[in-house]
Symmetry: C2
Subunit: 289 residues, 2 copies
């Protein structure tokens, strides 16, 4: 009597091995779901993995902190990492493969190719404040999709602009993978799950809940019939300022085209990027009328 | 006794149908070779198709005059087209599929995504003179490779810089397809085959042979021991000027990195872009020592 044989997640670190794995799955006519992450996993990520496991024969999650999407003064070097813990979490939700390449593997000497989604989708919101960010995101996601070759890939609505940019890229470049965007996962007090929440001190953690509270207030205003984006933004900024939370933006834009709106009409994305202490957090809701 | 059943090439015009065709071939474990063209086919293209037919179970050729790679003052509108003749030629060399999408199919309303290969590979030679040209080339080739999903794709060495840019992109973006570059096909008098040769009047056609003659002279000089790029370029420009052929550039660059060299050393690409009347022609040789 041996111990029961447990299915154990495998870790792949080279592009070639990852490609071979996926080719073998596809050769057998099976499907692959893919969840790209930068690690330091939370319930938001795990929800994506669970969805992939439910819908796909094999699930690949990747951990890659992508230098190309960080600006020179951003938090690349201190971005939180805990790969051993991440592996346990991924095994817990039954991922089949962790793809965990090095920076050198992804961007070898002489690397020169970048993908840009141009226009309104990237020159607004975070794109306006983080030049080159979405170029880095689009490039690494395209590379990962080409390497993993999934049938579907899962992204979180928390990064609303990222999700729209990736959907646009996938459509424009005729990618095979179906891009699926899953709802925001929140802590009990409403704070959107983010790897960056770990930066918050206990006092900041408490203050940070005002971001979701301000979005909820916006939803309530819309429900009560308020249509003026100006009024809604004033109400939100008053709440955020009262907590000493500085904003990069409070924006109301078309949920699909990200174009600014003055009146709430159709599906509208209300999005906030805010600084709690030295931590930049983003969150959003979609309102409809 | 019916007539013999001939294998007839099929023409596909939609991305969906093309993708379905390729998925079916791959599901059966067979290989696909791909030859992207802008049509008005000549022996250079047909040689690529023959090579694909020899090496692959199915061969797809595409005809798409890609607006994204033409500058505002270039010859997009008058670029030569003759699709019926092209179909006959492709059938003659046993292509299985012609992929022939419309501009609207490839770049629908709202199209926003572009691929750039940055740095030395694109800011020199034709890239310096045709801003955005290689961005257009890289973007359409990536789209076509994603749609056709070939095991290998064939390009001509006549467009030397294009071939290097595409190889770089394919490597950087982890594309599955093997990029194969085939030798230049020339007319009896040495003129490199090009769809643009049709623009030449009989007198211009005779003058145009000086481009290859100047490259041959460069090869002879290198064989005789000349190493100075300055001397080689002087000899070439004297020949070209004697025929009244104006040059965009005469260049000697590393055959792989396209960096300018002063002495012939290792594999060196000697390339010419020249105007014969109002027609711009390019040609090149690789010398080694």
């Amino acid at each position: 009597m041996g111990r029961p044989i447990l299915k154990v997640m495998i870790t792949i670190t080279t592009i070639k091995d990852m490609r071979d794995y996926s080719a073998e799955v596809r050769r057998n006519g099976k499907t692959i779901g893919f969840v790209p992450t930068m690690g330091y996993l939370h319930e938001g990520h795990l929800g994506l993995v669970r969805e992939s496991v439910l819908t796909s024969f094999r699930t690949v999650a990747s951990i890659f902190v992508n230098p190309a999407q960080f600006g020179p003064n951003e938090d690349l070097d201190k971005y939180p990492r805990n790969t051993e813990k991440d592996k346990e979490l991924l095994e817990g939700v039954k991922a089949d493969v962790l793809f965990f390449p090095s920076v050198r593997e992804m961007y070898p000497e002489g690397y020169s190719t970048y993908v840009t989604v141009e226009g309104a989708l990237t020159d607004t919101l975070c794109g306006a404040l983080r030049p080159g960010h979405f170029r880095g995101v689009a490039t690494v996601v395209l590379k990962l999709l080409n390497i993993v070759d999934p049938d579907r890939a899962f992204f979180g609505q928390k990064d609303a602009q990222q999700a729209i940019v990736i959907k646009r890229m996938a459509k424009d470049l005729d990618l095979r993978a179906d891009i699926r965007v899953m709802p925001i996962i929140r802590d009990e007090d409403g704070l959107a799950m983010s790897s960056r929440n770990v930066y918050l001190s206990p006092i900041e953690r408490a203050k940070a809940t005002v971001i979701y509270k301000s979005l909820s207030a916006a939803v309530d205003l819309v429900k009560k019939g308020e249509r003026s984006v100006r009024e809604i933004k004033l109400a939100m900024s008053a709440m955020l300022e009262a907590e000493g939370v500085r904003t990069d933006y409070i924006a109301a834009v078309g949920a699909d085209d990200l174009r600014p709106v003055e009146k709430i009409k159709g599906r509208t994305l209300i999005a906030v990027a805010a600084w709690v202490g030295s931590t930049r957090l983003i969150d959003n809701v979609i309102v409809e009328r």
